[in-house]
Every structure is written in structure tokens, then in C-alpha cells.
């Protein structure tokens, strides 16, 4: 199976490892990620206002490219996933946006939200299957107590994201089990970490990070994993105290599949 792949700006830069591991693991698990040529930054936040069109175009271009190839579009970064999935939903269901975007792009074939947008984790769950992953794990992460940090963008709004139960998700916990570790469920795992205010309002972000870290530590987590480069940055850097270590889920997957060193090399 080959997917169109939208890495996003951060994965080309500060979150290179999220990207490398994702690609390597895909290969190891038997699916291909074909990077969309000349993709443009998704904008990092979904344009909520109903009159914003220009800010949706980069997502639509990527979606159209995938449609032309007849591929599903896969993302790893939570923010990219959130933006592209919601724009795709607009193109499928919001007449006004669809018309304006298509008029603006004035291509011959209008885009009506045909492309299926998948997060890498959804591919693992729904296509590869966590049981199949378990079988391919050569280096199970036995004894490691890992807390899943979902954040907001993968889950909400659930009507559009359709990712998991927004209040009691389980996909990353199932993933943690598949790689041989023990998931730790803690109350703050789906609360916002305050990532994007961390540029201008460090104290507020710090407060939120501390709450998440405390909650996970109290439940016995020894480390956290995330899919979001912004959450990663915020959780790692902006707490007031020494928090739990945070890694990308793809890194642990590579480790369990026994390909981490290879990728690093």
C-alpha cells in the first residue's frame, strides 16, 4: 500500500526524527509513504473563521495531489493532520467554502473532499493492525510505563476528526501495548498543553505543562509519547520542574521494531 505523505514544516526541521522514524517504520511494516511534491505548510492552525479561504489552499493542493494519484493522504504531525482533515471536511460538506476554493483554484476538475485523510496512527490501527505490529516487534519495550499524551488536535472536534473517543481515547494506549510496554492512563492526557501560547505567554504554558506532568507522574508514568512537535517542545521545555521524558511515538516504534540504530546511522 502506498500513501501520499504530508510531512509538514516542522518534520523537515526541528522534528526530523519524528519523520525519519515514521518513514523507516512504514517500510518495516510494509507500507510506503510517497512525499507529496512541493507541498506547502498547512498553516499550523485550522482557519476557524468561515470567511478564510486563502489559508485553506495549501491543504487543498495536497489533498488534490493525493486524489490525482488515487492515494489516501497520511500525516504524522497532529497539527497538520488537524488542519488538513478539517479543510477536507469543509471541501466535502461546506458548499460555500468548496465553491470559493474551487473557483479560486480554477482547475478543470473541482475538488469535493474525495481524499481520505489518515493519521499515521490510524494506519497502524486500521490497516496494519496492532496485532500485526506486535508480531513484528523484535525488541518489546518490556517494563516501560508509558503515558500517552493526546493533546487536543488529534481528538477534537470529534465530529470531524473521527479519530477516537474524544473523552476516553485508547488508540495510543493500544499502540503502547503493541510495542510491548505498559500504558499508563492519566486524567490530563487529552487536555491542552497550551502549546501555541508558549511563544508569548510562558507562565501560562508552564502551568499547563506542570499539570499534565504531575497527572502522568502520579499515575506512575515514567515517560510520555506524543505525535505533536509543538506538544513535544512545550512539554519538554516549558515546565517549571524536571518533567518526564517525552519522545515521539515513531521513535519508540522504531526501537521496538529493532531499526532505531539503523535509522540513526
Amino acid at each position: 500500500m502506498t500513501y501520499s505523505y504530508f510531512p509538514g514544516c516542522t518534520l523537515k526541521n526541528k522534528a526530523k526524527d519524528l519523520d525519519f522514524y515514521a518513514r523507516a517504520c512504514a517500510k518495516a511494516l510494509g507500507f510506503q509513504l510517497e512525499e507529496i511534491p512541493e507541498w506547502q505548510c498547512c498553516g499550523a492552525v485550522y482557519p476557524l473563521a468561515s470567511d478564510e479561504i486563502a489559508t485553506k489552499l495549501s491543504s487543498v493542493r495536497a489533498l488534490k495531489d493525493a486524489k490525482a494519484k488515487g492515494q489516501d493522504l497520511v500525516t504524522v504531525c497532529s497539527a497538520c493532520h488537524h488542519v488538513i482533515k478539517r479543510v477536507n471536511d469543509d471541501m466535502a460538506n461546506v458548499e460555500e467554502i468548496r465553491t470559493k476554493v474551487n473557483n479560486y483554484m480554477s482547475d478543470e476538475e473541482p475538488y469535493n473532499g474525495e481524499t481520505k485523510v489518515l493519521h499515521y496512527l490510524e494506519v497502524l490501527r486500521d490497516v496494519v493492525g496492532f496485532d500485526a505490529i506486535k508480531e513484528k516487534v523484535v525488541n518489546p519495550l518490556k517494563g516501560r510505563k508509558i503515558g500517552a499524551y493526546y493533546g487536543c488536535m488529534l481528538l477534537r472536534p470529534s465530529v470531524t476528526m473521527q479519530f477516537d473517543d474524544p473523552e476516553n481515547p485508547s488508540i495510543i494506549e493500544d499502540f503502547i501495548r503493541a510495542i510491548g510496554a505498559e500504558p499508563v492512563v492519566y486524567p490530563m492526557r487529552n487536555e491542552c498543553c497550551g502549546g501555541y501560547i508558549s511563544l508569548k505567554d510562558k507562565p501560562m504554558a508552564a502551568n499547563m505543562v506542570d499539570q499534565i506532568m504531575d497527572s502522568a507522574a502520579w499515575k506512575g508514568a515514567q515517560e510520555l509519547i506524543t505525535a505533536c512537535p509543538l506538544c513535544m517542545y512545550n512539554l519538554r521545555n516549558n515546565g517549571t520542574k524536571e518533567g518526564l521524558p517525552v519522545t515521539y511515538f515513531t521513535e519508540l516504534l522504531a526501537e521496538a521494531l529493532g531499526i532505531k540504530e539503523e535509522v540513526q546511522a
Binding site: V45, G195, K200, L230
Partner: protein
């Protein structure tokens, strides 16, 4: 139509939110992780717009505190989407008053080695036009 009413109408249009649907239950404010940082609270945004008092919202620091985490949208039993109202006010402030919350000059000081591109991209989207 008075200037206030016009402004409120504009917020309704930009946000696509029908503020009349709100039944004032407060589940948005009960869910908001930024509640204590805000001077005007999520449920008040909806009712201020309904009452045509957008001026106060535009001067509120809450618009820079909302995290767009969609907890309010997720749990609203009336499908009102308060986050969209807040976003619309924020956009109005930026578009009309040109009041950018972030100036390029201050950016270098805000960066550190780890700052992801995503953070800058989103800050530009949220704080400037």
C-alpha cells in the same frame, strides 16, 4: 442598525455561529482550560455577541488566551462552538484595528534552540494578519 449591532452581526458572520442557540448552561466555561486566565469567559463571549457588546470583547485579553483546544466545542450540548466566536473577535481586532499581537521585532527574543517552525507559523496565523 447601530454600530454595535453591526459589529455583532459581523462576528456572527465570520464565526458562522448562531448565538441564539446558546441555552446558557456554561459547559464551555466548565471545560475551558484557560478559564482562569481570561477576563471575559467563553460563555460570556456568546452572550456578549448576542447582546451586541462586541467592543468589550475586542478589548478583552481573553482573545489572546484562548488555546483553540476545542474542549468547549466538543462538549457544547447546543452545537454553538464558542471557540469560533472567540476566533472571530480576535480576527476582527487584527483585521480592523491592525492590532497585531506579535511584531516581527520581538520574535528573536522569544525563540530558543528548540522552538518548532509550527509554533511560529501558528503564532503568525493567530496573532497577525
Amino acid at each position: 442598525m447601530s454600530a454595535d449591532a453591526k459589529l455583532a452581526q459581523q462576528i456572527r458572520e465570520i464565526s458562522g455561529v448562531d448565538t441564539r442557540k446558546c441555552m446558557k448552561c456554561g459547559r464551555c466555561s466548565a471545560s475551558c482550560p484557560a478559564y482562569n486566565e481570561m477576563d471575559i469567559r467563553p460563555h460570556q463571549f456568546v452572550s456578549y455577541v448576542q447582546n451586541g457588546n462586541v467592543e468589550a470583547l475586542m478589548n478583552s485579553k481573553s482573545i489572546w488566551k484562548c488555546l483553540s483546544c476545542f474542549a468547549c466545542v466538543e462538549r457544547c450540548p447546543r452545537d454553538v462552538k464558542p471557540a469560533k466566536v472567540i476566533e472571530a473577535v480576535r480576527l476582527s481586532v487584527i483585521r480592523q484595528r491592525g492590532e497585531n499581537f506579535l511584531s516581527p521585532d520581538e520574535i528573536p527574543a522569544l525563540l530558543d534552540d528548540e522552538t518548532p517552525q509550527q509554533l511560529l507559523a501558528s503564532a503568525y496565523r493567530k496573532y497577525r494578519k
